[in-house]
């Protein structure tokens, strides 16, 4: 395969006109039209937020859509920038969104597309066949959201400990309320039995026998 990039041994000098040309050559409108032609009603929810085209696809279609975007001669979305998940507990049946950020490096266009899945059965096809970079990103997504990427070569936790039995980034695990007082967390200044900083041990406080000496008076 001939890689379509300018591979230069020397330096590449960029100019503003070049950038302008790169930005203008592939419009969001055109991508939208191509996708609608190919997939019809199945791709939906097109919107343009802050200049980036965003759309949804059914979760069974994620590989088909990505393959189409990858292989198509004028779309060429061949760089996976980012892959992550978002949890929406209130959307019944489509609680977890897997979000892909793709980048066409030649025309310098980015797009975002999402597939939604049920939190009870979060099965999504893996993108590792297409992008090697998806490997760890999917492991991370599994680690934090429990998305089961079907066909992934090595789907196990990556940043958390292997023994963890829940998916911590889901919304049902809120961060601890910092004002709680029921927890024995004395090293961080809350509660406790050893009583650092209290009168019991005398750290920085007066102990009983010295109390008479306040103000330097000798009793």
């Amino acid at each position: 395969m001939v890689w379509p990039f300018r591979i230069l041994a020397e330096h590449f000098r960029f100019s503003n006109s070049q950038i302008f040309k790169l930005i203008m050559s592939l419009s969001n409108e055109y991508i939208k039209q191509k996708l609608s032609e190919k997939f019809g009603e199945q791709v939906l929810g097109f919107e343009e937020s802050y200049g980036m085209l965003s759309f949804e696809a059914p979760k069974e279609m994620n590989l088909k859509v990505m393959n189409f975007l990858f292989d198509s001669d004028d779309l060429k979305f061949r760089f996976l920038t980012d892959l992550c998940a978002v949890h929406y507990p209130d959307q019944k049946g489509k609680e977890i969104a897997v979000v892909y950020h793709l980048h066409n490096l030649e025309d310098n266009v980015r797009l975002r597309f999402k597939v939604f899945t049920d939190v009870g059965k979060p099965d999504v096809y893996t993108a590792t066949g297409l992008f090697s970079s998806a490997n760890w990103m999917e492991r991370e997504t599994y680690d934090f959201y429990g998305v089961n990427f079907i066909g992934h070569p090595n789907l196990k936790r990556i940043l958390n400990v292997d023994e963890m039995d829940y998916f911590p980034m889901r919304k049902e695990f809120p961060l601890e309320d910092q004002s709680r007082i029921d927890k024995d967390d004395e090293m961080f200044g809350r509660g406790g039995t050893l009583g650092f900083g209290t009168e019991k041990t005398g750290h920085g406080t007066l102990i009983e026998s010295d109390k008479g000496n306040i103000g330097g008076e000798i009793v």
């Binding site: 950020h101 975002r112 961060l175």
Partner: protein, 407 residues
Amino acid sequence: MSEQHIKLPEGSIEKTTTTLNLGPTHPATHGVMQNILELDGERIVSTEQTIGYIHRAFEKIAERRPLYQITPLTDRLNYCSSPINNMGWHLTCEKLLGVKTPKRVDYLRIIIMELARISDHLICNSIVGVDSGAYTGFLYVMQYRELIYEIYEEICGSRLTTNIGRIGGFERNFNDIAFQKIEKFLKEYPDVQREFEKLFTRNRIFMERTIGAGPISAERALNYGFTGPNLRAAGVDFDVRTQNPYSSYEDFDFKVPVGTTGDCYDRFLVRNEEIWQSLSLIEQAYKKVQDFKGADAEIYHADVPEYYLPDKKDVYTKMEALIWHFKIIMGEIDMPKGEVYNSVEGANGELGFYLVSDGSRTPYRLHFRRPCFIYYQAYEELTKGAMLSDAIIVMSSLNLIAGEMDG
């Protein structure tokens, strides 16, 4: 094998390879990460990386913090170039809020970001030297990283985890000492960089150690999600600064260096050349900043009363300023609803922030695209079949920062 000399205990499996545990706290990993190498003699058969030793759940913590309190979290991603992370985060917030920053702020930001890039590349390149047995370069350039840290100190008061700038600009104008120090750096550093390059670039031992170590083709590098100097060393001229210019990078003239083979030597050269380009960028930005005269020279932030703390003088004398101060500090500002992805060219590659806001006071979801995390998975492919000594040098030339990897 003709004869078994050593009697293995019954039930044990005869193994022809050696397992070597490199890390998590090995001095050569320069960070907390583990590599389990399977060696056949000195050749690497396979590698398994374990990461996550300093995972601090920043994405989760960020879900309960107002925007300005997330900046200190970004410091701790790539802690060799915190200012770039800070600026990236501010730019993301500004994109979400629709804030337009004045030109002077953009130029001041570029000075800071390029200084950070130099200090990051310095560390990486000099560490490549250390790992190939040349300590001198490392000790020599450390003095000049110190100078960069002093500039940060003048601007924001801290050195490593900088928390520099605010949404909309800087917390205060650069003082004269900061400008003097930048001038001093611009004057003194080129000689140092030249000497540093003289120590390494045509050094026979260094070349033998790095040429052909850990090469990657452009195609594989892209497939592995490489960005930044590592991708450019493989021959792809992708740089966020030129492709999606932010913070007025389009006003500047600079080159994007590229390599050909993507091996350690090319990565080293690309980083060195980027240091020169950064120096030229700082010089240009410094000149442009000096062109602002009179009242223009006092501009150091955009007008964003909802997110930018008012002057202390006003807080003590005016009711409105006091209210805004209180609301900002307590994080009582609702942000607009929307999804935004913004990226900057970090020292290691494309540092992206994917921010989902549901219109409340804290992000609904924040995801960091951490370049280190993404390209470290190529390590196995880079080192397969190489010598054990290459494993170390490939690791340092990829510039793996555990803080960024683990997030």
